[in-house]
Assembly symmetry: C3
Homo-oligomer: 195 residues x 3
């Protein structure tokens, strides 16, 4: 699999997040009863790898279309309207680096669908099911994912185990892709509530 | 498009919410270790406009069916069983007033499905992606939406940007509709956690 | 309907949860700025009953497939790949005990899909819509559900009414099942934030 590489170092991922967080605290000009943002209690950078079923890769595929608009089919992402309406279910390996063949530390399980007609954009609902020496538990994410934006934030809405009731944000970036078959996402998770 | 108007002023929306919130604080007779409800830190009233694909309006449609039970089709909402099981993906314009043609301040992106056989009811998962002078960021919502009830509450489960990690509730009301093709929803968002 | 009974007493459900919670507080060896876990403010044990449409039980079914991968159909759960990709919408009765015929105290409304190819596993997004003397309001849940594990935790991500903005975890166990047609789930809900 000839994966395109974006040659972006992991530490850049970190630097960007700190700047972004600082901006978030001041970008709303309105004066309201705001709480001061607590220090992050935990930061994780993980990768997950989505291999989309295309009619020929049943053994290797980690995701598959299960819904599509009228006229679409479930084998290939619909060509028109930027895949608007295509709905996929996935069970992707999670790794601590950007190597598809690294030993997985868990699975990213959930769904996404393409949600815009005039550009590529998606919406995500998924859970990191982590089972390694360093972390055991789940983190659940939800939110809009404007794919073509370099860094996009989604919400951490809950967790279990090591991540019991955690909250925070996850900054997603597309680390690599190959056509409509392979996507590798870097997820920089910043948690503000840990128990 | 001849939209039915319900002639309900926006300020009524506010009054109802205050009364409702007061009731929520006292309606549970059981004595438990409850926290006192904090003052809301922010209130937004926004509208979004859902134009459902019906086989003829591909250019204007902002939502489309992508799943249906056996015997259903993806062009029209199934006539029997109150559309039970019909699943739609949407990308709807958000406006600050009830005019479909007002300049949008963002997009409501997500999905809903009809979830009852004996009445109209749905379940919603979606994100407000806001990008205006007043707000930049996302708010993610989730919950049951008993469509025929005048005001129904769903949960605000997270946010990013101006709405980083926000929590609260959103009171949804159907402000107008036209058959099975157009729905306009008023969303009164009360946030209790702002950073 | 000849339901298999697991003969597990409700109080066992409780004991397990207390032990589990204690472990959760110490299982993460890393030293970070953690908050101390507050006392639970509320505990509910409820059951819900999922009767899956199989082509013959349209009147009694409380859930139906609305999406499936290529080659699947919407009448029966796909036999291969552990139903991977099958997506169901449900509206299930909730009872306070394990009797399908007890008067329901609400409805469990939402969706699930099978999300693994090599074992039975699912992902859940749903809301308890409660309307009884004891509770009026909604609780929304989200997370991965590894079906074959005896007890699995998912996140409580929000609520309305009596459960305004609640958070916590829900421990799900399969209390009974009959083939691919009936599932009864015991949900032990522990809430840590109540208003």
């Amino acid at each position: 699999m000839a994966i395109k590489k974006y040659n972006r170092a992991v530490h850049l991922c970190f630097v960007w997040l700190v700047v972004s967080t600082a901006l978030l605290q001041t970008s709303d000009g309105h004066s309201r009863k705001k709480r001061s943002l607590p220090q992050p209690c935990r930061n994780l950078v993980l990768y997950f790898h989505d291999v989309i079923y295309n009619g020929k890769n049943a053994d290797n595929a980690t995701s598959t279309l299960v819904g599509a608009p009228q006229g679409g089919n479930l084998t290939l992402l619909a060509g028109k309207d930027n895949h608007f309406g295509d709905l996929a279910v996935f069970d992707d390996p999670i790794t601590v680096d950007n190597n598809f063949h690294s030993p997985p530390v868990g699975r990213a399980q959930g769904f996404y669908f393409y949600d815009m007609k005039n550009t590529f954009s998606s919406w995500l609902g998924f859970t990191f099911v982590l089972n390694s020496t360093d972390y055991k538990g789940t983190i659940t994410f939800s939110g809009a994912d404007p794919i073509l934006t370099k860094h996009r934030d989604i919400s951490v809405v809950g967790g279990t185990g090591d991540f019991l009731m955690t909250r925070g944000i996850a900054t997603i970036s597309t680390d690599a892709y190959e056509g409509d078959v392979y996507f590798r996402l870097c997820v920089n998770i910043t948690l503000y509530e840990c128990y």
